[in-house]
């Protein structure tokens, strides 16, 4: 059983994610540099947050062309769980693994603050231990976090149950207050907020349990495979 944490030049939440996966949830996680290949027997892939390539051109767009992305696509097609957080989400939409785009926040500023998520789909490998409409206190930290799709696509997302998380309040101008989506198969999930920053009691004074359930869902999913 192994979770791959992909590291792009400029990733900066890779070590945080690795810490939470290994030290808090006892998963076997390993870093993979973006020019390396992913082994076929990997059980889950996480694209962590940060500023891959310094957000040049547009957040995530250069990393979406990294060699490792073709391996991620192959694994995703096989149904392996893939999670993209923040810049990882941006990379997933730029590489076409997830629908939509992420635009500059309505405030035009970088925003680092705590917010509440609402669970909209609890059937994915990262949400199966959460209740539908459960609240998750969690921080966001991004400049380009405003999710956008056209009306037609939005209808499709709603129809296919592809909206995984929405913000409780208007945070950044996202369409339908969307904070996270999945692909039509449900195994690839992208979210702007940072669950790895909210899953430990020490750094989350509000309630760390809901975010923990995101990781425990993964434990349950990959654990069943063992």
């Amino acid at each position: 059983m192994k979770v791959g944490v992909i590291v792009f030049p400029g990733s900066n939440c890779d070590r945080d994610m690795h810490h939470v996966l290994t030290d808090v949830f006892d998963l076997n996680a390993e870093f993979f540099w973006h020019e390396k290949n992913l082994p076929e027997n990997i059980d889950a892939v996480v694209l962590p947050g940060g500023f891959s390539y310094g957000d040049r051109l547009r957040a995530g767009v250069i990393a979406a062309h990294s060699p490792i992305i073709s391996d991620v696509k192959k694994l995703a097609e096989k149904g392996i769980p893939v999670l993209g957080v923040c810049n990882g989400f941006q990379i997933l939409v730029e590489s076409g693994l997830l629908p939509g785009v992420l635009l500059k926040n309505e405030s035009l500023n970088f925003m680092c603050e705590w917010t509440n998520l609402i669970v909209k789909n609890n059937k994915t490998p990262f949400t199966n231990k959460l209740e539908l409409n459960q609240k998750i206190p969690i921080p966001i930290a991004n400049g380009e976090g405003r999710y956008f799709v056209d009306e037609q696509t939005l209808e499709q997302l709603e129809k296919n149950n592809q909206i995984v998380f929405s913000y409780e309040n208007k945070v950044n101008g996202s369409v339908s207050q969307i904070a996270g989506v999945c692909n039509s198969d449900g195994n690839v999930v992208g979210m702007m907020p940072h669950p790895e920053r909210a899953a430990e009691k020490e750094i989350n004074q509000i309630d760390h349990k809901p975010s923990s359930l995101i990781f425990e869902s993964l434990v349950e999913t990959v654990g069943m495979k063992k």
Partner: protein, 719 residues
């Protein structure tokens, strides 16, 4: 560029020939005030620098503190004032970059940033707003991209910074003691430049920073590239992990000239290099420009030739450039070549140790002519005053600022920005509490006590989280040191800081002096800034919101010290009166008492009482807990209501105590002979202060909250 008479004599005596163009440029950069500390070096020696936690190694650009279990914390502070006053975004961003590389050069990973920002009046001056907004954006852009959380700092506005900016950045690093770089070199080792290319940006930056700001010399401002910096951090740490680095230094002020001469001098070696080997951003750079360019994101590494291939492959992985400039020699000379031609050949210690200057000092005349108190104003009620103070940009919440900084990345931030002191968790289960503080309004009226006050305030803030201060850094910012009156204020500050550091056994582990901070209207107010690091053996005391019936306890004495207060300056537009002084023995006693109450688990929340005085400190707690209070001012002292509410006397803490624990708290405080008063309780939805059984101030908490939380954002929206 010109040398002063005594510098010319020093050159004649030691070199005994004409300097080459490159040599002149190297010496001008290295002997600038900015690099050589020629006015201050001999005085900085008075600061105590040793202590049980301090690790001293040669050539470190940052202070190193042992935090136990094989781990160390590193810390450094710098400013980037002149560049930020011209180009606030790039100036502030490159200020962040520079201080981070100082942390990196000890072999530790940077884990937190703090910034102290000072500008003119943002309410009336659109240029000050522009400087402020862009300096914040520059810090956010750089720190966020690197993934180093900006977790604390302060922002202050004062007319003395009109058309100018003070941008101070402190960085903290963390690592294993065994992985610290033990700076050393062997003959034949390679001298390697890793990182960004060298260009014309920042040429002459040190001299630019060593003179009053007259023109907007944009070429002297460096260009930031946080992506390259991030790659350098990871590459250098990987080189460190593979034991490839013998010695390391950041390229900052003075560029290669400074890095080469200081490295050679501190290691007692010679260095020979060829400027043709430096990777360049533009091909037509003159050799002397290469030597003094302050292009950012560059590190100088000394490594054994056996490790070159490892270093090359690490740099290849991160796609950063790496050039072998030359090698280590025995002769203790700094030898610069351009191909086969020698363009500079000087003893390294001669370059690195510029001749010092004894500056004259005399007590400023203004200090003898300060007015005592403002004319009384009867039109404002205390309620009006409190509302106005809560929306003063110096007091109002800085949420607009710190929400632009990623303060969570790294998942160490246990106490987040917006409280007294931010706290980081460390890998050994301990916690590190850090705070920086300055107070130019107090320092202007009393440079010595003002500086001590900044120091004490930073200590109080870390104490409020349950931390014991283990080290400090200072950043001393003044006007032109050639003016004896300004130099007197510098000497007063450093003597005050030294006395307090010695009394409390808090070693100074790093610092910086910045002179020539002058605006068109004259020098800035003396602005020493103190950063204090505190260590907690386990988890910190979290700021818990006060609730109904919790008791309000004041530790410390409130004195007739309204001079330099926000009340005098913001409400009365008055500069004068008696600024607060620190009584060292009370300071110590109060710190120890608060720490022991916290360790006994008797305190719900501890809050520092400082800017805006008692009225603001208690109001902040009410806003935090969304609860009112009922406070009897007669319990504080017999001073007038105005003085009790707004005096900024030091050594005071507001403690929130649960009723059930009050007796134990009182017993301990009485045993310690610590001065305290029980002021009242948190209750209802109104802030009520009463004196002689009559309310003197009544304010609904919601109203207070609105002013406190939204004022800064509103000012910024005005464009």
């Amino acid at each position: 560029m010109s040398f002063q008479e005594h510098e010319k004599l020093h050159i004649e005596k030691n070199v005994k020939r004409e300097l080459t163009t490159t040599e002149s440029q190297i010496l001008a950069a290295e002997w600038s005030e900015h690099c050589s500390y020629k006015s201050s070096k001999q005085h900085l020696k008075m600061l105590p620098t040793t202590g049980p936690n301090v690790i001293v190694e040669k050539g470190y650009d940052s202070g190193v503190l042992d935090v136990g279990d094989g781990y160390v914390v590193t810390v450094h502070i710098e400013s980037h004032n002149h560049p930020s006053a011209v180009e606030p975004f790039g100036g502030a961003a490159t200020g962040v970059g520079g201080v981070i590389r100082d942390i990196l050069s000890a072999g530790t990973r940077p884990i937190a940033l703090f910034d102290g920002l000072r500008f003119g009046n943002i309410e009336t001056d659109s240029h000050a707003r522009w400087l402020f907004k862009n300096a914040v954006a520059g810090i956010a852009d750089y720190g966020n991209c690197l993934g180093i959380p900006t977790i604390g700092g302060e922002v202050e506005f004062d007319e003395c910074y009109k058309n100018y900016a003070l941008v101070d950045v402190a960085a903290v690093g963390f690592g294993k003691k065994s992985k610290l770089i033990k700076n050393h070199a062997n003959i034949g080792d390679l001298v390697i430049l890793i990182g960004g290319s060298t260009g014309r940006d920042g040429v002459g930056g040190s001299q630019f920073a060593s003179d009053a700001l007259e023109g907007e010399d944009r070429s002297a401002v460096q260009i930031p590239d946080p992506f390259i910096e991030k790659l350098i951090i990871e590459a250098i740490l990987e080189c460190r992990d593979q034991n490839c680095i013998n010695a390391m230094k950041d390229l900052g002020g003075g560029g290669l000239s400074c890095a080469i001469s200081e490295t050679a001098e501190s290691l007692g070696i010679g260095i020979e290099l060829d400027v043709k080997n430096v990777h360049l951003r533009e091909s037509d750079l003159a050799p002397e420009e290469i030597m003094i360019s302050e292009s950012q994101e560059r590190m100088l590494v000394i490594a054994s030739p056996d490790n070159l291939s490892k270093i090359n492959s690490i740099c290849d992985k991160f796609r950063i450039q790496c050039s072998v400039l030359g090698k280590v020699k025995e002769d203790k000379m700094m030898h610069v070549k351009n191909g086969n031609e020698t363009i500079a050949l000087l003893p390294a210690d001669f370059v690195a140790r510029g001749p010092l200057i004894s500056r004259e000092k005399s007590k400023p005349k203004y200090l003898s002519n300060l007015p005592v108190a403002p004319e009384p104003q009867n039109n404002l009620s205390f309620t009006d005053v409190l509302l106005k103070l809560l929306s003063s940009p110096n007091i109002a919440s800085k949420h607009w600022v710190y929400r632009q900084y990623d303060h969570e990345v790294g998942i160490r931030t246990v106490i987040k920005p917006g409280y007294d002191s931010s706290v980081l968790r460390l890998d050994n289960g301990k916690s590190l509490s850090v705070k920086i503080d300055g107070n130019p309004k107090h320092c202007y009226l009393n440079p010595r006590q003002g500086a001590i006050g900044c120091f004490e305030e930073a200590c109080r803030n870390v104490v409020c989280t349950g931390a014991t201060p283990i080290g400090m850094v200072d950043h001393l910012q003044f006007g032109n040191p050639e003016d004896p009156e300004i130099f007197w204020t510098f000497m007063e500050s450093i003597e005050g800081i030294t006395d307090f550091a010695k009394s409390l056994n808090i070693p100074c582990v790093g610092g910086k002096v910045s002179f020539y901070n002058e605006t068109n209207d004259g020098p800035i107010k003396p602005t020493p800034l103190i950063g204090v690091l505190g260590l907690i053996d386990s988890s910190p005391l979290h700021p818990n919101p006060p609730s109904e019936n919790d008791v309000i306890l004041l530790i410390g004495e409130t004195k007739d010290e309204l001079g330099g207060s926000e009340y005098y300056e913001y409400i009365h537009n008055f500069v004068g009166g008696t600024a607060p002084s620190v009584d060292v023995s009370n300071s110590k006693k109060n710190m120890e008492s608060v720490l022991s109450l916290i360790s006994e688990n008797l305190v719900k929340t501890a809050h520092d009482c400082s800017k805006g005085g008692l009225a603001i400190a208690i109001s902040e707690l009410c806003i935090f807990g969304k609860v009112g209070c009922h406070v009897n001012l007669n319990k504080v002292s017999t001073l007038s209501t105005e003085k009790i509410l707004f005096s900024e006397s030091h050594s005071r803490y507001i403690l929130v105590i649960e009723k059930s624990k009050l007796d134990s708290v009182k017993n301990i405080l009485s045993e310690k002979n610590c001065s305290f008063s029980e002021l009242g309780i948190f209750t209802s939805d109104q802030i009520i202060f009463e004196s002689d059984s009559n309310p003197v101030l009544e304010l609904i908490v919601d109203k207070a909250e609105n002013n406190y939380l939204n004022s800064l954002g509103k000012i910024i929206q005005n464009g």
